[in-house]
């Protein structure tokens, strides 16, 4: 059996094509996995962002409840023992020219 001698140049070319193909495949796989990983990270961050937005909304509502005027008045009267000013105790500050 006569074995045909493959030229060295063709071997190198073949190897180069194989290496290149492997490199491209590796890059492609890497790209795919990285895209998937980033997609998962993005999804997690989106969920977190959504939760944080919900939390902010709930906290804003809670803040509004804590600052509601009925609650402020209750705290002022019951805890701080504040009372309505008598007419003689009122000082109007920042009045216009007519008040001078």
């Amino acid at each position: 059996m006569i074995r045909k001698k493959i030229p060295r140049r063709q071997i190198i070319l073949g190897l180069a094509v194989c290496v290149l193909t492997l490199l491209i495949l590796t890059f492609y796989l890497r790209h795919l996995t990285e895209t998937a990983r980033l997609g998962l990270v993005q999804r997690d961050l989106d969920i977190r962002l959504s939760r944080l937005r919900d939390e902010v909304k709930a906290l804003e509502a809670k803040k509004a409840a804590l600052l509601s005027l009925s609650r402020v008045e209750k705290v002022a009267r019951e805890d701080l023992h504040m009372a309505e000013p008598q007419p003689g105790q009122i000082i109007y500050e920042g009045g216009g020219e007519s008040n001078k």
Binding site: K57, L69, S70, E97, S98, N99
Partner: protein, 589 residues
């Protein structure tokens, strides 16, 4: 010989093979036939079954929009919540069910009746059973931490009104499915609720969800800003509650508005309710008396009669009327005044609120002119405020008038109005004769059209400006030296009119001597109005039952606090006991 001996078994084998092959072929044909039956003829049913098992579509509920006051304070917001539900557990013993319900009772405080009902429904193995709707995420987490079999929760939202009962009648309330049932929540349900989305959920063979994809994103509801000022609303509600308690009135209502724009700054009704528990509030407390209740306005309607008299030149400002006579030539019972009067000029008739004088003025005006003026002021039709359930009131058509109607209407009887209509009428006077429809929604925030602005309000000129200015002057005198003295406020110019209506007694078929509706309507400052207020109290008890005694002080206190809140200070030196100081800021030099 050898071949002869071997042939028969080969033939036998071939025959067996053929039979086997035929059998296999028949089986294959049967199999293929069955496959064709299943996959071709039964394709649709099989596909539906597979899809049912492997995936499901689920609605994504949009978040309801937030309602703000004019300063950006939150009045209503949907916050995250969870809904607890039960699914049947296969092979769960009766003792395990009882134990589960006991644990749930302890965690949620279900109560005896609810516990019993829940146990019955668990035993009936209902496929899906809500345990509690819209609980806080903390409560849901506490229940789920018990790890009770068949107890689950799903995300939900809960409508939350952070200020409790504040502006309850304006906001209204929502049902369990977050649909508006009253107030702004109902009137603006469509923009507030947004649009439902849809998602697809893929499941594995064990029906565990492994993939979620949004098919159509939910469109969140739009936010709404009201014309209401939460601080003024609080002042109005507090003063009204104090007045209702002090006078032991059945109910009361207050509306505060800006006459120049028709914007409602506050609208309060007593009794009130907490919109956080809307479903448990009774219909009587949910009733928004400011726009849904009609009553005979009494003397506050004299503004219309007097305006008609001036606009039609039916009377002169110096013209006098004899208010001492009870025989004025009108049919029926003689017209009475709250105190004896003699000869009064036309402005004095308004200032002292003489019924006899105003009936004579009404006669001068005439039926058609008085009707036209009342209709022009908006009586007998809805004001068009953007709140559901507004009453139109009733202004009888001229054809239905009796001989008694003219004097009765001149003094505010035989006409049914809402408090808002009376306020709208005085707003026209304050606004130099321009009638501007009231409104309660300032803006709807539409992310798709952020630059879209509300069209300007169209005003209707119902009085010549000079007549309106004259009327404002007369109403200012009514507060300075007339029946509205208790509405006087040191350092401010106030204009207004009192009203005391005798209530119709359906049993006696006559106007009651003891049951009144006391009211006061006015605006401030009289020369440049920024506020107009109406106060109405039903059946005040005790010695003071007149509008000037009961409603005018409420008006005064609301206006005093509201003007200070708006940064409008006394323009004249206040009377004794008040100290004023002007602070000159160095930075302003």
């Amino acid at each position: 010989m050898r071949s002869a001996l071997k042939e028969p078994p080969a033939k036998k084998v071939n025959a067996r093979i053929r039979i086997l092959l035929a059998g296999l072929l028949a089986w294959a044909v049967l199999l293929a036939g069955r496959l064709v039956q299943l996959q071709v003829f039964g394709h649709a049913a099989a596909q539906a079954e597979v899809l049912e098992q492997s995936r499901s579509k689920s609605d994504i509920f949009p978040e309801r929009g937030t309602i703000f006051d004019r300063t950006g304070q939150i009045l209503a917001r949907s916050i995250p919540a969870r809904s607890l539900f039960l699914t049947p557990v296969k092979g769960e013993s009766a003792e395990a069910q009882r134990s589960k319900v006991r644990a749930l009772n302890k965690a949620l405080g279900l109560g005896e009746e609810e516990t019993r009902r829940l146990l019955v429904r668990i035993r009936q193995a209902e496929p899906f059973l809500y345990l509690r709707r819209k609980v806080s995420p903390e409560t849901a987490a506490a229940v789920e931490s018990l790890k009770l079999p068949g107890v689950h929760s799903h995300p939900d939202t809960m409508r939350f009104y952070p200020n409790g009962p504040l502006a309850a009648h304006i906001l209204g309330g929502v049902g369990i499915d977050d649909t508006g049932l009253a107030g702004v929540e109902y009137s603006y349900n469509q923009p507030l609720q947004g649009k439902k989305g849809q998602a697809i959920i893929l499941k594995d063979a064990r029906r565990r969800e492994y993939y979620f994809e949004t098919l159509a994103a939910a469109l969140p509801g739009k936010d709404i800003a009201l014309t209401i000022d939460a601080t003024l609303q609080y002042i109005a509600e507090r003063e009204l509650a104090k007045a209702v308690e002090a006078s032991q009135a059945n109910w009361g209502t207050v509306i505060v508005s800006h006459p120049g724009s028709g914007e409602i700054l506050a609208m309060a009704s007593s009794p009130t309710y907490n919109p956080n528990a809307f479903s448990s509030a009774g219909a009587d407390v949910q009733f928004n008396r400011a726009i849904q209740l009609t009553y005979e306005p009494g003397s506050t309607f004299k503004i219309v009669t007097a305006s008609a008299a001036l606009a039609h030149h039916a009377v002169g400002l110096r013209e006098t009327f004899d208010c001492s006579r009870d025989d004025l030539g009108f049919p029926g019972k003689p017209i009475r005044d709250h105190k004896p009067f003699g000869i009064l000029t036309f402005p004095e008739v308004v200032i002292h609120s003489s019924n006899r004088g105003m009936a004579q003025v009404g006669r001068r005006v005439g039926q058609a002119s008085l009707y036209d003026m009342a209709a022009a002021f908006g009586f007998g039709r809805k004001s068009g405020i953007d709140l559901a359930g507004e009453a139109a009131g009733r202004l009888q058509p001229l054809s239905a008038w009796s001989r008694r109607t003219l004097p009765a209407l001149s003094t505010g009887y035989e006409v049914a109005t809402t408090p808002l209509q009376v306020l709208q009428a005085i707003n026209a006077v304050a606004n130099r004769g321009a009638l501007i429809p009231p409104r309660i929604v300032n803006n709807i925030f539409d992310p798709a059209q952020p630059l879209k602005r509300r069209p300007p309000t169209v005003a209707l000129q119902v009085l010549p400006p000079e007549i309106a200015i004259t009327m404002a002057g007369i109403l200012e005198e009514a507060v300075e030296e007339g029946t509205g003295r208790q509405a006087r406020l040191d350092g401010y110019r106030i204009a207004g009119k009192t009203g005391t209506t005798q209530k119709w007694d359906p049993v006696l078929k006559a106007y009651s001597e003891r049951k009144h509706i006391a009211s006061f309507v006015g605006f401030a400052p009289a020369d440049n109005p920024v506020l107009s207020v109406i106060v109405v109290l039903d059946e005040p008890k005790g010695t003071a039952t007149y509008g000037g005694d009961v409603a005018a002080p409420v008006f005064r206190e609301i206006v005093r606090k509201a003007l200070l809140k708006l940064g409008i200070f006394p323009v004249t030196a206040p009377a004794k006991g008040l100290i004023t100081a002007s602070v000159w800021n160095e930075a302003r030099r």
